[in-house]
Symmetry: C2
Subunit: 499 residues, 2 copies
């Protein structure tokens, strides 16, 4: 096979890959937002067939030859084409590990398991979900043993979400978080502030919807390329930079859950919306790792969205949408309200200070579960023990405990650490950004464009073109250093709580 | 190939066909409801690839052999399997006519053309749309000439939407409608009633949304199997009986546009929701023809939804949702308001009496356009001339004239007559139904279940299992008779307008 033939085949492969990926992405998004509840069966059949096609199309001797041919001609191949072959080779190697029937059966398992988990969470019934998680854990362990028998299984899974992450690198990372943050959390808990009166609302959902639109505009999201849907568990999905979907969930009693979901998912969206045009409709069009993705979402959510400066434009918008509810509220009141810190039950509602310890608990559980030291049936007890030990609180039921997150139900074991890593990456990016951008100055004026321009230059534009090890140090001004992140949190909450 | 081998292959074929159809259906629905405006490009790429797969999967020598094998063994094959082979053979013959490249190019053309039409309608700019319609007309004429060179092209297209419909059968049908209804329309126009004061509203969209839910409940639609979306031009889409989508459009100034859209699309939905379980995920799971489909949607919309009896539960619901706006309104007021008749510009907003003449105008135009007697560039002038001649009104612009309907933009030339045929079928079904069901009695109590049960028994349950010629006469008590339909309209509007 000549190089030109291989490149032509690569283009065909990408065309098919795009189309199948597009269809699967829209089916998932639709299924989690507007589809009728009983639609899961037909969707499962469709997704199962599409995943079979994906597998067949990628895993065959010809594809192997196509990719090898290009990878052997680095000097004669342009950067983008070479990198496309590299990324597809990774996907090829991932899929190749399993026979097709096993791959498709796993897709069917996670589709059904997601539906069961929804039900189990609603009923707070772990026993419903348990047999599915057992199968998923067994499947993930088997996958890891086939993929890299020489490595610990959990390391193989971690690498799926954050290239290069291992227990050896994450153990000290989380240890630092725990050691540095636990004393602060303890101090803050002693100085607990009351929930301010204005938080009582009411916050009608119809007004919250108008609020969402204004928040998206403030964040700089073009509605022609990105729309907002409603779901139980907010997520972002994308097919290309002209078709990104974010989702949120409204609670009548709290405008901030939805608002911070919109800003968080909006951060994921901006990453996808700002990838270079010449990478679209290829395997390089999306964000590079989940850790980098979460660094963007949590950057907008916390570093910007919960900053003192952001409270200026935020208060203005809130007074437009909720004039009655926000009467007499000052920027300082708002800043304090969106940064109330207190150990709590639900990760997605946790404040910035305690958040990473929720993640750490999941890391410990996954580590033990995949390592074979924790049986799936023992998760509820262990979950509750860790929440008591690390966050000092009692879990009243599994709905607010080990059934709260969707990740395990779709097989996302190894995903959680990305949230904490992303948060840490983000703070290091902030420190770099501050060297050339007056962050509080521009955010205070409600102009996030300079912030997004900086992130686009350093991160967004590249999609998956650059490898994380080439991308991150340049944006972070060096390697990961957990103390930069903990230092930021200690300073912020030290001031907020007069420690 | 043995019969058993053929049946096994048929099952595989159906599995693939279901999955590809499911994906395409959801992509269309998503694209017309919640997708960002700029998403059309990626969706077009995905749909184009999926249509290529659909073609390849159906049109190949093996599939031909599979279908022939089953069709040659009628006595040894069960009814459902045999009919599946029969229906797939029709699809096979339809697709077989065109080379794959031409088929895929046509899918791409209609995808792009739909986007252009939206734009052209918004700008009321026929010239934008004209070149696309020219291509579509050429493609449809070519298709017809390949499919059945011995037949007039328009007959071939009519048959796509209503099996057996021809110009020879439709010419006298529409002639009867025109001759019987024109004098009534003229008389009614002389006695024009003012729009009642309560119609001024206001009708907030948020309340209209709550209204939609109550209307769906009244119609007997299970939200676990069917959800409601918003779009510019309401439609229904379905993948199986547990996954049906209906859509509506809200206007602040008028609650009835959305309400009757919901009831109409709900009628389509009920047809799909009530098909037998053993036909699901096969090519028999959907309604048999567009004429039969429209008979159901227009049955609920008009025969039920605009009946005197329905005004009892309707007024009750409206007083719950719009207590201020509906203060002092009686059932008679409501009955009169939802049956105001007056020649108007927009088909989808036309009253029951004048509706079929809107359809007739489109029939005349399509007949001439496909027959080669009318150039696409002359459509605006001819459209306006016919509206003046037949409905006696002047068309102020193409947005409210020849650009109002989406059908031509997606290639649906030959579809329109189904609306008039369906309306006529529906009235004949009502006459049969009345022999065993107290229709006004049960509708007046807000209980539509006996009506739906009758339609399910006669029509819905069969999906595409029975051919129209076996299905319709039994439900209609005989062959199509346009005077039953015109008689119903003359009686109803004669009473409403004291003719």
């Amino acid at each position: 096979m000549t190089l030109n033939e291989a490149i032509e085949k690569l283009n065909e492969l990408e065309k098919a890959g795009y189309a199948l990926g597009h269809a699967q992405s829209i089916l998932y998004t639709d299924g989690d937002t507007v589809a009728p509840k009983n639609s899961w069966k037909g969707r499962g059949m469709a997704l199962s067939y599409l995943s079979e096609l994906t597998y067949k199309q990628l895993v065959n001797p010809e594809t192997g030859e196509v990719l090898e041919t290009i990878l052997q001609h680095r000097d004669e191949t342009d950067e983008i084409t070479f990198r496309r072959a590299e990324v597809l080779k990774e996907q090829y190697d991932d899929l190749h590990v399993l026979p097709m029937e096993e791959y498709v059966a796993y897709q069917e398992l996670t589709n059904e398991s997601s539906a069961v988990w929804h039900d189990a969470k609603e009923k707070s019934d772990w026993k419903l979900f348990e047999p599915f998680l057992e199968k998923i854990v067994a499947a993930r362990r088997r996958y890891a043993s086939l993929k890299a028998p020489e490595k610990p299984a959990y390391d193989v899974l971690l690498d799926e979400y954050e290239k290069g992450a291992t227990m050896a690198s994450l153990d000290p990372f989380f240890r630092t978080l725990k050691e540095e943050l636990s004393p602060v959390i303890l101090e803050v808990a002693k100085r607990e502030k009351p929930v301010p009166a204005f938080m009582k609302g009411p916050w009608p959902v119809s007004s919250q919807k108008a609020f969402s639109e204004k928040i998206m505009a403030l964040e700089g999201i073009d509605p022609l390329n990105c729309t907002l849907g409603e779901t139980e568990h907010p997520f972002t999905n994308n097919t290309n930079k002209w078709d990104v979907r974010i989702t949120t969930h409204y609670y009548e009693e709290d405008p901030f859950f939805s608002m911070y979901s919109v800003i968080h998912e909006g951060g994921h969206a901006l990453y996808e919306l700002d990838v270079r045009d010449d990478l679209q409709f290829t395997c390089l069009s999306g964000g590079i790792t989940m850790g980098v993705h979460e660094s963007q979402s949590r950057f907008y959510e916390n570093i910007i969205g919960r900053s003192r400066a952001f409270c200026t434009p935020l208060l203005k918008v809130m007074k437009e949408v909720f004039p009655e509810q926000m009467k007499g509220v000052t920027e300082e009141d708002l800043y304090s309200a969106v940064n109330l810190s207190k150990p709590s039950l639900i990760r997605t509602e946790a404040d910035e200070l305690t958040y990473s310890l929720h993640v750490m608990i999941r890391y410990e559980l996954e580590r033990a579960m995949i390592g074979g030291d924790l049986k799936v049936q023992d998760i509820p007890v262990e979950w509750n023990r860790l929440y008591r030990e690390i966050l000092g609180i009692d879990v009243p039921d599994d709905r607010r405990g080990c059934l709260q997150d969707s990740h395990w139900s779709f097989g996302g074991i190894g995903y959680f650490p990305s949230y904490a890593l992303g948060s840490a990456y983000g703070v290091q990016m902030l420190r770099e950004m501050e060297k050339t951008v007056d962050v509080p100055g521009t955010v205070g004026k409600g102009d996030l464009a300079p912030v997004t321009a900086w992130l686009t230059e350093k991160i967004h534009q590249y999609g998956s073109l650059k490898k994380p090890q080439d991308l991150l140090p340049a944006a972070m001004g060096g390697p990961l250093d957990a103390t930069v992140y903990t230092g930021y949190l200690k300073k912020k909450f030290g001031e907020l709580y007069h420690l």
